[in-house]
Symmetry: C2
Subunit: 190 residues, 2 copies
Amino acid sequence: MRMLEERIRKDGKIRGNDVLKVDSFLNHQVDPVLIDELAKEFYRLFKDENVDKILTIEASGIAVAVMAAKYFARPLVFAKKSRTVNISGDVYSSKAFSFTHKTENTVLVSKEYINKGERILLIDDFLANGCALRALRDIVIQAGAVPVGAGIVIEKAFQTGGEELRKEGLRIESLARIRSMSEENGIEFC
Amino acid sequence: MRMLEERIRKDGKIRGNDVLKVDSFLNHQVDPVLIDELAKEFYRLFKDENVDKILTIEASGIAVAVMAAKYFARPLVFAKKSRTVNISGDVYSSKAFSFTHKTENTVLVSKEYINKGERILLIDDFLANGCALRALRDIVIQAGAVPVGAGIVIEKAFQTGGEELRKEGLRIESLARIRSMSEENGIEFC
């Protein structure tokens, strides 16, 4: 999506060869006009999938996911992250290691909010190693629901998460795919 | 706001005399159609305040705040919560005790995203003892910016946070104000 790629080039900050900071418009400060365009694009891409619900993970996936949910006119569910290990019986849970924060989180969704047979669209802001997306997909499968695909804002295509999950059959649509990046040479998109 | 009060009566779950669970439409599963109406109402209430930015706190404030930000056509900033004490020099920070989770969090906003003189509208899903809202207001004041008011989805008016902050001069507009609630007698709105 050209508009997003241009915004990343203009306002993204590269640190080393693998950290991209998009704090100024996506995950600390949020540009609602841009986010709304991204949400519309997710709707265009997945509108024929008979989506029943959208599932994202707190916190930075929520903004784009709720805007997308409005276009689909379907509920959004946001999974919660917890570092505590005591999980009650009324939630689905899956582990996800965060490379950003160097912590292992448990990802939780109440069993009330994903039902057997529902068609679930996953949405998240970033896809790199795929841990968060994998945890969301696992929760959908635990519930007996169907992961119809994943809408991702920025994919680091030089990491392996997207490739692995596509091989396992998940449809992934990333609005910007970064082939390579470095402080010296900037960003190359796929 | 009648539509919200009716939804709380219909889908809210009371536990004891002070816990109201609105997980099914506000802070785990989110109804984007309802949230959009709440966002429009915040715009109607604060549209003459020349709002430069909206500030909320992760995670459950983000959905309604980003929708409101779209109506104002202004950026949203969401404050981050951290349990770590090491704060770098490039953030504003304030402490907030969470009665829900029984933990003290540090609330953080990068200094890049709130500037001196900016008119900031605070938005959050709940107001009870006022700790989170107080932390957001403190951060705005640290930045030399102006807290023009706070838009709250649900205020527990039987707790003291709202009253105290109003006495200190903060304009607070709550879309539903609960005077009292109990498992036996249900909810009474103000």
